[in-house]
Symmetry: C2
DNA sequence: ATGATATGCATAGCATCCTATCTTTTTACA
DNA sequence: TGTAAAAAGATAGGATGCTATGCATATCAT
């Protein structure tokens, strides 16, 4: 009958923080013509190395269909382009368009700004503690159950 | 040109932890016929006090249309029922069905289990630290920008 | 009392996510 | 070499979440 302490339901806080971050960041990114989910793709491709859809999905840790749809929207919006892989007819390489590259500095600035707002009042140590505890959570959940 | 330290992008870790929690929990809850988004609704209504849609949305902190759709699916699935408010023809009271009440113990167990897995290896102090840092993030983001 | 507001919900439209499947190519190995 | 297994994508189907709107009913202020 005893209720566990509220803090043992950490998932609730993680979820809520996650949604608030999106609510805060999305409108600003939308003003740039991009979305939060696209940021990791932009970041991964910004070095100019084209990547396959599968490798993007693996790096960014979303499922392949999620990445497929995300890339479709980004292609529709002129942010990425796909060029067929001559060595493998199933596959193509994804790369940023010049328009997307031009957005990178502003996008990065918004990303940093959103995080800074989330961490307002944190000492560097608190920030590092939060991240390392989250990494521990992620490690716990990332492996098969 | 200097890149900020990775840990200043705490949002990334928060998002990832959030998605992993869902991926872990959803299949188990699905086996019970419910979903993670429904848990807070079940928890809020479990005391038997009927609530309006708007008050549920406020308590659970999702937007009203989100709650409307969630309740629609729950109604479709026989988890909640709405009874019109005689005093206000715009509004109804939402309450759990007996079927939903019967699921509460198992649902609660899965909730606790998922959180326990996420926090595996955590000391009580680490757990509390994580939650209090997340609460600070939430407080930072919850107020208008 | 009545016209302006506020409130409670419903709907439309979209972006992410996920799982489950299917097709097309490649690869591997018997 | 030929067939089975693996890999890369595409698609279907569904749940959440959000913003923007619209409608009906209450409330309030003059």
């Amino acid at each position: 009958m005893s209720e566990p302490p509220l803090s043992s339901l950490a998932g609730h806080f993680i979820n809520r923080a996650s949604r608030l971050l999106l609510r805060r960041g999305e409108p600003r990114l939308r003003a740039l013509g991009i979305s939060a989910a696209q940021l990791p793709v932009l970041g991964t491709l910004k070095d100019g190395l084209p990547r396959t859809q599968a490798s993007l999905a693996a790096l960014i840790q979303v499922e392949q269909p999620t990445m497929a749809q995300l890339l479709s929207r980004m292609e529709r919006d002129g942010l990425v382009e796909r060029t067929p892989d001559p060595a493998d007819r199933r596959s193509s390489f994804v790369s940023l368009t010049p328009a997307a590259k031009a957005l990178l500095p502003k996008a990065h600035k918004e990303l940093v700004r959103g995080n800074a707002e989330a961490l307002k009042g944190f000492t560097d140590e608190e920030r590092d503690t939060l991240v390392s505890l989250l990494e521990k959570v992620i490690a716990n959940l990332d492996s098969p159950s």
